[in-house]
């Protein structure tokens, strides 16, 4: 470069400042600071990177140009779920987590970062009301990790290795959980019946070497587990704990698992005030009762209320910090690190805005739209519902009666601007509806599928006719 490289992000690239600082430390050049880096490890050429856009207006044009190639779920009618859900995010949620104070803070102490501690304590507390449990962690990465950790906790507490998996689990989640726990735990699957747990089968497998029973509700296919109390009783009788993986979105109307005996409840908070973000905005919660045995196995930070020198004032701090890898490296429980705090704040704001009535209204709406969608799609000739369980938000339809593959239907409907769902089997399609999916949207999907089954049927017929001709 002939001109000095000065960049708005790096104030001391200003030549006068740089020279003054070099002079102050008595260095001839920046090279001196790298004396410990052996010459043979030094890169002797510039990095081979694309030419930059140092002018902000050029950067914006470039990135907006790229993102402009995306076609979002505002342009497409989407029935996609499978772990990432399209719920409405109130404007106040985005306003709060967009505040520079929250967005750019990190790891300050309870004094200068009082707001962060309180906001996350409140997140814990709001989730606790929704879940009817006394302890919720500062969010871990996502529901996958939360579940993996919850099962590991059960293993560490019991010293047992076996986990009975009672529900259908999202395959990617299962992949993560399996790789995470496999050194310490063995996952054993009890096949589901009609979408939910085979309680009898489960009971028959229980024994004193079972660390935990793992129930997912809603399951991978959106089925709500109705026999939780029975499962819990059986698990407890065998000395196992009940780990429930869930999505908290429905607990305005559904009984929280803790009231049916769950010991650890875990899952993802993406539904609570986070955008879809191409699957890039998840946070994991782990909730337990106020029981030291469980709490001391939690790896995440737990913010708690504390008194201060001023009577009546609330202070905050880390509860039982000595559990953590920050305190004890490999002797801590798993590890703790930068995870998803901002998303936790978002979920807290969301729950505060929604309140009890909002969560109730939403829960009812989701149940109603789900059932309506099941009715409309199930009524199409050749289409059958995957099972008869109660469903929240997601359900499967079986296309085999219409001679359609799920992938084929997805392809056909994409051509009409519809993402009809996720192919989860050759003929099985996982369909998701939320409060963003109106009656008209569902009707449009039903019509589009119906027209494809018609088409398929007539094609089949004409193929048959051709063959017979």
């Amino acid at each position: 470069m002939t001109e000095p490289f000065v960049h708005p992000y790096i104030p001391n690239t200003a030549p006068e400042s740089k020279a003054a600082m070099l002079a102050a430390v008595g260095a001839a050049s920046v090279d001196e600071f790298y004396a410990d880096v052996p010459a043979e490890l030094r890169l002797d050429r510039p990095l081979d990177l694309p030419a930059p856009f140092t002018a902000e207006q050029d950067l914006v044009r470039h990135v907006e140009g790229l993102l402009g190639k995306n076609v979002s779920t505002r342009q497409r009618l989407s029935f996609l779920g499978a772990g990432t859900y399209h719920h409405y995010v109130p404007a106040v949620v985005d306003e709060v987590i967009g505040r520079s104070e929250f967005l750019t803070a990190y790891a300050g102490e309870p004094y200068e970062d009082h707001g962060r501690f309180q906001a996350l304590f409140q997140y814990q507390s709001l989730m606790a009301e929704l879940l009817a449990m006394d302890v919720v962690n500062v969010p871990t990465y996502d529901g996958y990790q939360a579940t993996a950790t919850a099962l590991s906790m059960a293993g560490r507490m019991s010293g047992r290795r076996r986990i009975l998996v009672a529900s259908d689990v999202l395959p990617a989640k299962l992949s993560k959980v399996h790789d995470f726990v496999r050194v310490h735990l063995d996952l054993e699957f009890v096949e589901t019946i009609d979408g939910v747990a085979d309680v009898a089968g489960l009971v028959s497998r229980l024994g004193d070497d079972i660390a935990a029973v793992w129930v997912e509700t809603p399951s991978h296919t959106g089925a709500v587990e109705a026999q939780l109390q029975k499962i819990s009783d059986a698990a407890h009788a065998a000395g196992a704990v009940l780990v429930v993986g869930t999505d908290p979105i429905g607990y305005g109307v559904l009984t929280p698992p803790a009231e049916q005996g769950a010991d650890i409840v875990c899952g993802d908070i993406q539904s609570l005030g986070l955008h879809q973000w191409f699957g890039g905005a998840h946070g994991g919660f782990i909730a337990v009762h106020d029981d030291t045995k469980f709490i001391m196995e939690m790896p995440s930070r737990l913010f708690g209320l504390a008194t201060t020198d001023v009577p009546g004032e609330y202070g905050f701090g880390d509860v039982a910090y000595d559990r953590t890898s920050f305190a004890h490296r490999e002797e801590g429980k798993e590890w703790v690190g930068t995870a998803a705090a901002l998303w936790g704040i978002a979920a807290g704001v969301y729950l505060a805005l929604m309140g009890p009535q909002g969560m109730r209204d939403l829960g009812e709406l989701l149940l109603a739209r789900t059932r309506y969608a099941q009715q409309q799609l199930g009524a199409i000739p050749g289409i059958a519902l995957g099972d008869t369980a109660v469903h929240l938000r997601e359900f499967t339809i079986d296309l085999s009666g219409a001679g359609l593959t799920a992938a084929g239907l997805v392809g056909a409907l994409r051509a009409e601007g519809i993402e009809p769902g996720v192919a989860v089997g050759e003929h099985l399609l996982l369909v998701c509806v939320t409060e963003m999916t109106s009656q008209a949207d569902i009707d449009r999907l039903a019509a589009a599928i119906a027209s494809n089954t018609d088409h398929q049927t007539s094609e089949t017929i004409s193929t048959l006719e051709e063959q017979s001709a």
């Binding site: 559904l254 879809q276 009535q357």
Partner: protein, 534 residues
């Protein structure tokens, strides 16, 4: 502000946001879906969430935000190892578009070409920066990336039939503790090495620890002391000599961008934190994002799904999604990783380019060595190890002399610093450096700001000698006062949620649904809401 806990702001009947109604056609078709729920599935009493008007919710959280000290507000160089740097506002603006926020990860890839291209390009840029062959952006933070490192190492040895044999992982005490913790979580025995007398990593100690049982070495370099291990290649070679892999924690590569690369030192795997080196915001502790780089030999073990570029016969390119292969460790996180941060990191690199990244590194080390000089001028402060030598991007300092003289601890000085609108952090445990504090000025702060920060430390050191009680009884100028942390380690007294607090402290009756009685009669006096305009 003296802002109450949000539950204290509840007023029956208030609403924060309304949910859209159930269409008449839907209601007619489905009937009373709640009433129809099977026995036991219908919640008996609504959750005891607060009931608040929208403006009050907003006001509450805005006030809390003002009680928080973001990196945008202070000279945020006190959180050493964490690389607090400028997260450009333009990047926040760019990622806020519905063209990203409203994308579902399972949409037709043809509808996601923009974001897929950014993921792919970011991987390629980080591959160039690290020298590694392949990069994955799936992980959600630095420690998660360390987990992926060890998970891939484990899978590699298992694939080679050495899974049972190699049960040990070696790290150093000045490497990030998550290396030890993740290795333990993956089932390994952890061996931690201590530095030599000069604070340099001890190559002889490593050689003694290595054996056919070693699965990997997992080290940070420069270490948390800011000292670069000049024998790093010898470390890697020694590991390789016993068949172990070498894993490089480059969470903070801020001082060496464009200077030296992981692969050039022979590492098999490495990771970066996008929220450290690559300028994404820290979000009060996440979301962060990790990038894992691997050599070609480890590439089959990378998490999936992966984004690939395909060229058409007409020279056009398109981006496709490939599911994880046979040997992959599988999904480590939902879908493609922390997309908002990946896009921010992409934009950050594209705003700087090769010259800019090198300037980042050079100015970061210049700033660090300048600050080192300033801090060492403060009586009572020292920088143990590698005496007289330059450091890379940070320094772990010690107040031991000051402590011996005054009895004031580093923690106390940190609390007092908050009164000056500054923050600092001591160090990870254990405190091998006594009375530690770790400063990392990054490239984002001007000379004047570094001078200001050093002046505050000097002032507190003066106070520690002349008016130690001022330091000892800090904070004096915060929204909250000296907090009693003993509450937090006592299971009888800790209160991790408001409902637990009500139950434990007020014996609030818990109804069957877990709804507690009305909150205490805490009076909010106007007099303490007085930081208004601050």
């Amino acid at each position: 502000w003296d802002e109450p806990i949000i539950f204290e702001l509840s007023t029956p009947g208030e609403r924060g946001v309304l949910v859209t109604g159930i269409e008449a056609g839907v209601r007619d078709a489905v009937g009373d879906v709640v009433g129809d729920l099977p026995a036991g599935l219908r919640r008996a009493a609504p959750p005891a969430l607060p009931e608040m008007g929208q403006m009050r919710v907003l006001k509450h959280y805005l006030r809390l935000s003002q009680e928080n000290l973001g990196a945008d507000f202070n000279v945020d160089i006190g959180q050493g190892t964490c690389t607090m740097k400028y997260a450009p506002k333009v990047n926040d603006q760019l990622v806020g578009t519905p063209a990203l926020t409203a994308m579902h990860p399972l949409q037709n890839p043809a509808d996601a070409q923009g974001v897929l291209e950014i993921v792919w390009s970011t991987e390629r840029m980080i591959a160039e920066i690290s020298g590694m062959d392949e990069v994955s952006l799936h992980t959600q933070g630095g420690s998660a990336a360390i987990w992926s490192n060890i998970a891939m190492i484990r899978a590699y040895h298992e694939a080679n039939g050495e899974g049972e044999q190699r049960r040990e992982v070696i790290t150093t005490i000045f490497s990030h503790p998550s290396n030890a913790a993740a290795a333990k979580a993956a089932g390994y025995d952890v061996i931690t090495l201590y530095p030599d007398a000069d604070g340099y990593p001890d190559l002889e100690a490593l050689k003694r620890a290595l054996s056919p049982r070693t699965a990997a070495i997992m080290v940070t370099n420069p270490e948390d002391t800011g000292i670069y291990n000049p024998a790093i290649k010898d470390w890697v070679d020694a590991a390789h000599a016993v068949g172990a892999l070498a894993s490089y924690d480059q969470a903070n590569a801020n001082g060496i961008l464009g200077i030296t690369r992981a692969r050039d030192a022979g590492f098999d795997v490495c990771h970066f934190n996008l929220h450290k080196t690559f300028g994404t915001p820290h979000g009060c502790g996440g979301p962060g994002a990790g990038a894992n780089g691997v050599s070609a030999a480890l590439a089959p073990f990378l998490p999936g799904p992966r984004v690939a570029r395909e060229s058409g016969t007409d020279g056009s390119t398109r981006f496709v999604v490939r599911e994880a292969g046979e040997q992959s460790i599988g999904a480590v996180a939902p879908f493609f990783g922390v997309i908002p941060n990946i896009v921010r990191a992409y934009a950050w690199m594209m705003a700087l380019g090769a010259d800019g990244l090198r300037a980042v590194a050079e100015i970061a080390v210049l700033n660090n060595n300048y600050l080192l000089k300033k801090v060492l001028e403060i009586p009572g402060a020292s920088a143990p190890y590698a005496t007289g030598r330059r450091r890379i991007e940070q320094v772990r300092y010690s107040w031991q002399e000051l402590f011996e003289e005054t009895g004031i601890t580093s923690e106390e000085i940190g609390v007092r610093a908050s009164d000056f609108g500054m923050h600092y952090w001591t160090s990870h445990h254990p405190y091998l450096v006594p009375q530690p504090f770790t400063l990392e000025p990054t490239e984002s702060y001007s000379m004047a700001e570094l001078d200001e920060y050093a002046a505050v430390l000097a002032e507190i050191a003066r106070e520690a000698r002349e008016t130690p009680d001022v330091v000892r009884t800090a904070p004096h100028n915060q929204t909250v006062h000296h907090t009693h942390h003993d509450d937090l380690d006592d299971p009888e007294r800790w209160a991790i949620t408001w409902r637990a607090y009500q139950r434990k402290y007020f014996g609030a009756p818990v109804d069957p649904a877990g709804r507690v009685g009305s909150a205490g009669d805490r009076i909010e006096t106007g007099a303490t809401a007085a930081e208004a305009a601050a």
